[in-house]
């Protein structure tokens, strides 16, 4: 007894005792501030940071950017890249895919030829099902009359994805090779991964001129981080014996890298490729906001004019493209080389490539004879946009449906969202910061607490406090609702193997959809307002929550649940006292992801009309206020990082404590 007591005390030097004290102090101060405001004795400078005290960060940043851009002449370098090699690549792909009048003046490639090649590639990596998916996607795109805009999107992806892959690979190798570089890169990467996409767009526009080049640059920058991380991870995992075998074979350093390390890290590198492709697709769609043509721009226009049928069709195209790209690249990761027997003739070894080539040229020739195989014109396509419009609108007009959505809209807005928002806005800034710090400290411990204090203080002094609070309010409301829906759903699904499998598959698929897609149902159901924003974030954020709840619960070791069964616990007791505690660290990862997704989505959803940072960010896109754009983006990033740090730290500590590593 004594022994356990003493270890308890020594263990908790900065644990519960110290923690409780600090927490109490933080919360009491916060409450005192709030009370003071309520009874009207709080001086205004303690309520909100006075304008005069806010440093002109945006202007300073503008000056710095100007200096780099003009005085250092960086703009000439970037413009050179933009107008030189990058534009050349983009023009080439645009010529081939959509027939833009540029070198090599060959395109556009007939849609039927591309669909045929997609089918062969699908077959090669994953058999008939992927062949059908590949062909089906491109046939649908052509038949529905979206070929041209889809190819505008694809022509950026086919340039951006390989470049992001190469850059990520090189940087990943450098980070693996040089410890200092990795230490330098890590914090930058975590900021980059939480920075809203719009923050990438404006510098891209300024430094790389408006148009596809800027879109491609922003997309590439956004897609690089996961490639870097996967590359380093893969290289670190190469088995020591494989490395030694390479050394004993007399490899030089370059040979080691080229013939041993990179091939042995193949799986992780290819997973990186998959992520690069998916991010590129998601981002290229978003470049619609700087006026880049393509699926995203069309979708934006259709949603803006409330043409639900067409929006829906474009949504289907984007989803099909996403699923096809994802499944094919994943199948490629899993595909293991299979040998040919000795003496297999040349044409048999390259059978698949030959078939692909044959079909490609065959369809290209056929298309000269039957123009419909080259291009499906305005009059011929099968789009049912108007009809679907009518169907959706009459469905939404059914009394029961209309009643429900309107009641929900009213209830959420009037009873939940607005009161919550007003409460948050009423809290004095210092008290708000203290509350966030207590949360981070309570959940994650000292370090996340300190970072929370620093990050939120920076936000407070950025001059965009109220909008930041509104952003946070949207995120919290959406994630709270998503938790209430997602976790019970996950729990129910985890009960049966069959259910968890199909729901996991659905979640995996849903995660490959570009975020933009989630706006479509939200707008359909709720129109253009706060509720639609929260709803779109909610479904976007519910996906990882459901996913990780199922994963967490089904990964509880069977011995433990069996032990609970043998102790005669009911299903409920087993869930509450065995499964949940063990699954919680994994579920926390899902919760964390949900919050990150929400921060990402809230900025995009801003175009529906919110008064948060996202809206301001989107406004900057029209101008050249680089400094302001950056400050806004950084605010989002800092808030997201605060939660990320606290929750990941909790999950890690918990996992270690449970010995689940």
């Amino acid at each position: 007894m004594m022994a356990t007591l003493s270890t308890d005390i020594s263990d908790t030097r900065d644990g519960p005792w110290g923690q409780t004290k600090v927490l109490t102090a933080l919360l009491v101060t916060a409450l005192a501030l709030i009370l003071a405001k309520a009874i009207g004795i709080l001086p205004e400078w303690l309520n909100r940071i006075p304008e005069a005290a806010i440093p002109p960060t945006a202007q300073v940043l503008d000056a710095i950017f100007n200096f780099i851009q003009n005085d250092l002449g960086l703009i000439y370098v970037t413009r050179f890249i933009a107008e030189g090699p990058l534009e050349f690549l983009l023009d080439t792909s645009a010529n081939l895919l959509e027939g833009k009048r540029r070198w090599p003046y060959l395109g556009p490639i007939p849609w039927s030829a591309i669909a045929a090649v997609a089918a062969v590639v699908g077959y090669a990596v994953g058999g008939w099902r992927l062949a059908a998916l590949g062909a089906g996607t491109f046939i649908w795109t052509a038949a529905i009359g979206q070929w041209k805009i889809a190819m505008q999107t694809m022509s950026v992806i086919v340039v951006a994805a390989p470049l992001a892959f190469l850059l990520g690979l090189v940087l990943g190798i450098a980070a693996w090779k040089y410890g200092w570089f990795e230490r330098l890169l890590k914090p930058i990467l975590s900021v980059l991964q939480t920075l809203p996409f719009f923050t990438y767009l404006l510098p891209a526009v300024i430094f790389f001129k408006v148009g596809p080049t800027a879109g491609a640059v922003a997309t590439i920058t956004f897609a690089i981080p996961p490639m870097i991380l996967m590359t380093t991870l893969g290289l670190k995992k190469v088995s020591p014996e494989v490395i030694e075998a390479g050394q004993m074979s007399g490899c030089t350093r370059w040979q080691m890298l080229r013939h041993v390390y990179v091939p042995a890290a193949r799986t992780e590198v290819l997973v990186g490729v998959n992520q690069v492709i998916m991010l590129c697709l998601a981002m290229v769609v978003l470049t619609a906001f700087i006026g880049m043509p393509g699926l995203g721009a069309k979708l934006l226009a259709m949603m803006g004019s409330f043409k639900l049928g067409r929006s829906f069709e474009i949504g289907v195209t984007i989803v099909l493209l996403a699923v096809t790209l994802d499944r094919m690249s994943k199948a490629w990761v899993l595909k293991q080389p299979v040998h040919f027997e000795r003496g297999t003739p040349w044409w048999k070894r390259h059978q698949i490539s030959l078939v692909a080539l044959g079909l490609f040229f065959g369809f290209t020739l056929l298309a000269q004879v039957f123009p419909i195989l080259a291009e499906i014109g305005r009059k011929q396509h099968l789009s049912q946009g108007k009809e679907i419009d009518v169907v959706i609108k009459s469905f939404l007009a059914i009394d029961a449906i209309k009643g429900t959505t309107e009641w929900l809209r009213w209830f959420l807005n009037v009873k939940v969202l607005i009161p919550f928002r007003n409460t948050l806005l009423a809290i004095p800034t210092p008290a708000f910061i203290l509350l966030v710090v207590s949360f981070a400290y309570w959940v994650g411990g000292r370090k996340p607490g300190i970072y929370a204090a620093i990050f939120f203080t920076i936000v407070a002094f950025s001059g965009w406090w109220d909008r930041s609070v509104i952003t946070l309010y949207t995120v919290i409301s959406a994630v709270a609702l998503a938790t209430m829906i997602g976790i019970p759903l996950g729990v129910v699904a985890a009960r049966s193997n069959r259910w968890s499998k199909s729901i996991l598959l659905a979640c995996d698929t849903a995660q490959t959809f570009p975020s933009f897609i989630y706006l479509i149902p939200a707008i359909m159901l709720f129109g253009v307002n706060d509720v639609a924003v929260v709803f779109s974030i909610l479904i976007f954020a519910a996906v990882p929550l459901i996913r990780y709840t199922i994963i967490g619960l089904s990964n509880v070791p069977p011995e433990m649940t069996e032990a609970a069964d043998m102790s005669g616990s009911t299903r409920r007791q087993k869930l509450m006292s065995v499964q949940f505690p063990l699954a919680l660290p994994t579920m926390a990862v899902g919760f964390n992801q949900a919050i990150m997704f929400a921060f990402f989505m809230v900025i995009i959803a801003a175009f529906i009309g919110t008064q948060d940072l996202g809206q301001e960010l989107q406004r900057t896109l029209a101008g050249t206020e680089l400094g302001k754009n950056f400050v806004l983006g950084l605010n989002v990033s800092l808030m997201a990082l605060t939660f990320d740090m606290a929750i990941s730290s909790w999950a890690e500590k918990r996992k270690r404590a449970l010995g689940l590593d």
């Binding site: 014996e241 494989v242 030694e244 075998a245 004993m248 007399g250 091939p263 042995a264 293991q336 299979v338």
Partner: protein
């Protein structure tokens, strides 16, 4: 270089793992034990080892897991840079080699086989075996020809186009062996090559390995944690513990005269009659009057059991494989070994 000069000669070799091993070794008091060094925050992977490997000899390094076997061999091939002492390979101090020279040494003189094979998963059997040849820039046809030759040698004909994943463990290790032999190395390192295999396959691979060695006559450093395997294969056995070599001697000597208690524990359960050879037990002739037919010095006591029991002579002449009498065996001593009576 004379024929008797050792191929590998290690003197007072140390390999310490820890924050700053060199300066720690300098300040290290003589006679500090493994555990005391560990208490200082260092692991003595190799602790003051001096050992020589003669040309054409098979030295087996034996010891429990973590005793420093792999580390020692990696010092020989300079996969690890040693902390103290010297290692000479063919009279050349390997720590003084430049990166380029080291690469040349490995490309031309050394081959190594690994416990979990260390095959490159994305290359076929043929390409794996040809890998060292490719690295040293041999042209395509040459290396293909040579690779096919070694693949045939290890009995993998017809599997050239397979990928490692498509082979069984034993077959994968054959690939590892073929790869290590492709450059025709003088020195062959094998780090527990058969430990990952099932017992039956292991036995088969040992036979195969002995056949190869008979044919190739390489200088071999073979690592194992299996004492029976060591006894089966070795010319000499070095027994390691906590980074140090406890005893390095012929199997006969290790079994008959274990130097330390630790070694003795290994030999306890060994059927000595099956290990000890007549010549290992024989004494010098020294003027004894010998009569009758000599027995073969290369046979184990167990193989000689019938002779030993039936013969009536007190002293038996022992001859080498050319029939020349080289020693004398006391029949009683031999019978004691046979009956396990010491």
């Amino acid at each position: 270089m004379s024929a008797s000069a050792p191929v590998i000669s290690a003197k007072n070799v140390w390999k310490l793992f820890g924050p700053s091993p060199e300066s720690y070794l300098k300040s290290l008091a003589a006679g500090r034990s493994f555990d005391e060094i560990r208490a200082d925050g260092y692991i003595a992977g190799v602790k003051d080892v001096s050992i020589e490997v003669a040309r054409g000899e098979m030295l087996v390094i034996m010891g429990l897991s973590g005793s420093g076997k792999s580390t020692l061999v990696r010092c020989f091939s300079r996969l690890h840079d040693i902390t103290g002492g010297t290692i000479e390979v063919d009279g050349q101090d390997i720590m003084s080699l430049t990166e380029r020279e080291l690469i040349e040494l490995r490309r031309n003189k050394m081959g190594m086989v690994f416990q979990s094979f260390g095959l490159l998963p994305h290359r076929t059997v043929l390409d794996n075996v040809a890998f060292p040849l490719e690295m040293r820039g041999q042209d395509r046809y040459d290396r293909r020809e040579r690779a096919l030759e070694v693949i045939k040698l290890v009995g993998l004909e017809g599997r050239e186009e397979y990928f490692p994943r498509e082979l069984s463990g034993g077959q994968q290790q054959r690939v590892g062996i073929a790869r290590s032999l492709a450059i025709e190395p003088d020195i062959w390192f094998l780090d527990e090559p058969f430990s990952a295999l099932d017992p039956l396959i292991r036995r088969e691979m040992q036979d195969e390995f002995l056949r190869l060695q008979e044919m190739l006559g390489k200088t071999i450093v073979f690592i194992t944690h299996d004492f029976d395997e060591a006894l089966r294969l070795a010319d000499r056995i070095a027994i390691m513990r906590n980074g140090a070599v406890e005893q390095c001697d012929t199997p006969d000597q290790i079994v008959m005269n274990p130097a330390t208690e630790y070694v003795a524990k290994f030999t306890e359960d060994v059927d000595k009659a099956r290990v000890v050879h007549a010549k290992g037990l024989a004494k010098p002739v020294n003027g004894h009057a010998l009569e009758g037919a000599p027995i073969n010095g290369g046979s184990t006591i167990h193989e000689l059991a019938r002779v030993l029991v039936n013969d009536k002579r007190i002293l038996l002449p022992v001859a080498n494989d050319k029939g020349v009498v080289t020693g004398v065996l006391e029949r009683d001593t031999a019978l004691n070994v046979l009956l396990g009576a010491e």
